[in-house]
Subunit: 251 residues, 2 copies
Amino acid sequence: MTRIYTAALVIIGDEILSGRTQDKNVAQIAQWLNVQGIRLQEVRIVADVEAAIVEAVNALRVRNDYLFTTGGIGPTHDDITVDAIAAALGVPVVVHPRAEQMLRDYYARIGKEPTPARMSMARVPQGADLIDNPVSGAPGIKVGNIFIMAGIPHITAGMLEGLTGTLEGGRPLVSVTVGAYSPESEVADLLREVVKAHPQVALGSYPFLKEGRYGSNFVMRAESKDDAAACAEALAEKLRGAGYDPIIGGL
Amino acid sequence: MTRIYTAALVIIGDEILSGRTQDKNVAQIAQWLNVQGIRLQEVRIVADVEAAIVEAVNALRVRNDYLFTTGGIGPTHDDITVDAIAAALGVPVVVHPRAEQMLRDYYARIGKEPTPARMSMARVPQGADLIDNPVSGAPGIKVGNIFIMAGIPHITAGMLEGLTGTLEGGRPLVSVTVGAYSPESEVADLLREVVKAHPQVALGSYPFLKEGRYGSNFVMRAESKDDAAACAEALAEKLRGAGYDPIIGGL
């Protein structure tokens, strides 16, 4: 049994909580973490309120190997993530010299003034390093085990790209999906038997309604590809025995 | 100042945390709550693990008027929400007689056996009422201030439909959006002035990149439509003064 590495994610965003914006960062970061061999354990979506950010950050940073945050690192009045995380850590906010230089260079290159609002994006919790932002000017921030990322999904993606392969992780979970037009309640007993016979595999059942037909995707996750595949084969055989036509790969 | 009613949401779902499934319930429930005059304060996405569900439910139910959960109420082995919430409340799980009858009727109507797995969906925390499910057989559950809903978005939607107008709420927040192709960092100072002059309005700035151009939507939220509209007009005027072409309604 290899060590399991875990992460949590705090999404800082009134716009998600109001229903105005559809979140895309949970799925994007979860998938990226899987590839790094790190499991996303919990997500919290909190308001742009310092006390809410502090509570979530302090609850989750101590019980996970890594904590990611998205949102609230721009130049406007509602961008309070850096101050909130500094408060959570009990450290002051300082100007990061390299961030300052990067922002000066960036704005000179695009012919804009380095206004105080723009230069505020060089502020970091004391002790922080920078995370490259290949998309726009302002860098992300790494402080302790906290990775402070942009909220706009394609900028987040750029920052993740740069972090790929830099975090210590375990063995990525391998997953195999078996889909069938089998209503969950028809196959619940059969699933329980498969779960019991394959204790090293986590088996999730995800029902769907497609073109008027109920069915389920059954997802097997394991550290070993062979374990997941053997479980999938056992499940498929039982589904065929019950009169269904299972599709390895999912529906 | 009217009383503010708040809600939290706990999403129970390994499939969201693995990145396999894109969540749609946050936005759907947030928008529905807005119409009821209830503000979504926090969302937690937790694994299909009893301790994780218990912790999230107990943290959030006491500090909000309402707590919603989605997911984990089907008939399979990984559906543990009812047991976890009963554990959180310190009450036993019982069979709800009306739920039992509804399920018996439903399965008789569609010509299926009332197997133990299917009838397990009549299990509720002691003291619970049912929430109608107009889409499929198994009802949602209301216990105290907790609303236990299905995870499949169109079934969740059906349950919300039936709850519309039944929860006590405050005045819905009115929002007005002003959009412009103004990079946030160009207008941060101007925004601060508008925020200072309209303390009764919450002003959020949401940057975007559309067809290669950076811009922002500025969302004004207030209890009073007049307050939001006056703030939007003041912001639009300042944006025009800075050389932008603001669009009321957003971009």
